[in-house]
């Protein structure tokens, strides 16, 4: 498990760095798919196989197909000759470094809580993680579930309106 965690984290960090440094947006998109697969590996280690499948289906499948299609639709040879970076590179590195240090500080100095729920590894393995998620999704979280369906409907209409020729 430890070795798998280190392999996946190396792949994730490396491909995330490649996403923001590559000049060609298509290369970045392919590295982003690799990064999503590494995240799916993390979810498998953390005993959530259902989420790993969702990650690969929705992120690496649907969303990345959308992005790759848009990159192909916008003429890539015309875009390539513009300068890839803004001039505020140093400020950007500084801001993200400060953010990183803050998060690390709170990770190590915040109060670590003891486990409070009942869903241990053994219980989730016994019931099956898909069933656990399904039961919670359709009993306790049924209102957010319905709101999510409305949100997806609104997104369909919005995408249609934006991509139309004229408002």
């Amino acid at each position: 498990m430890e070795a798998l965690f280190y392999i996946f984290s190396f792949i994730a960090i490396f491909s995330a760095l490649m996403v923001i440094t590559m000049r060609n947006p298509m290369t970045s998109a392919l590295y982003l798919i690799l990064c999503f697969f590494a995240f799916a590996g993390f979810y498998v280690i953390l005993d959530m196989q259902f989420l790993a499948a969702m990650q690969i289906l929705v992120y690496a499948g649907a969303i990345m197909v959308l992005i790759v299609l848009v990159i192909m639709l916008l003429n890539i040879s015309k875009i390539k000759d513009m300068k890839p970076y803004l001039h505020q590179k140093i400020i950007g590195v500084l801001i993200s470094l400060i953010l990183f240090i803050e998060i690390i500080f709170y990770i190590f100095h915040g109060a670590q809580k003891k486990p409070i729920g009942i869903f241990t590894h053994a219980l989730i393995k016994k019931i099956g993680n898909t069933q656990v998620i399904g039961e919670f999704l359709f009993t306790e979280y049924v209102l957010p579930f319905e709101i999510a369906s409305i949100l997806l409907f609104v997104a369909i209409i919005g995408a249609y309106l934006f991509a139309k020729k004229k408002f």
Binding site: A16, I20, L46, M48, V58, L66, M82, V132
Partner: protein, 97 residues
């Protein structure tokens, strides 16, 4: 749990860096997806540590919102490209032309 949170924070910072320094609208959007994913990893790691299931449910809703946001953002990108002929975010400085 700490090691997962450290990896998530590293990738969140990389995503922030990408949003700040890149010019290409599509790459900025991809950095945003990186930040979404690192937040998801944090949710799953913490709910795994606390033996809860709510974090995993929340990840599903984050994925739903990310999918909706992808559809809208790429629609905006196509409209922007049609208006300006480029996807340089420095050129996005007026509401209507």
């Amino acid at each position: 749990m700490n090691s997962y949170l450290i990896v998530a924070s590293i990738i969140f910072s990389i995503g922030t860096l990408g949003v700040i320094i890149r010019k290409n609208l599509i790459v900025v959007f991809m950095s945003l997806e990186l930040m979404f994913n690192s937040a998801n990893l944090g949710f799953v790691a913490v709910s795994n540590h606390l033996h809860l299931i709510s974090g995993d449910i929340f990840v599903i809703f984050v994925i739903v919102v990310a999918a909706a946001e992808a559809a809208i953002a790429l629609g905006i990108a196509i409209t922007f490209y049609r208006e300006k002929g480029t996807i340089d975010i420095d050129k996005a400085n007026e509401l209507k032309n």
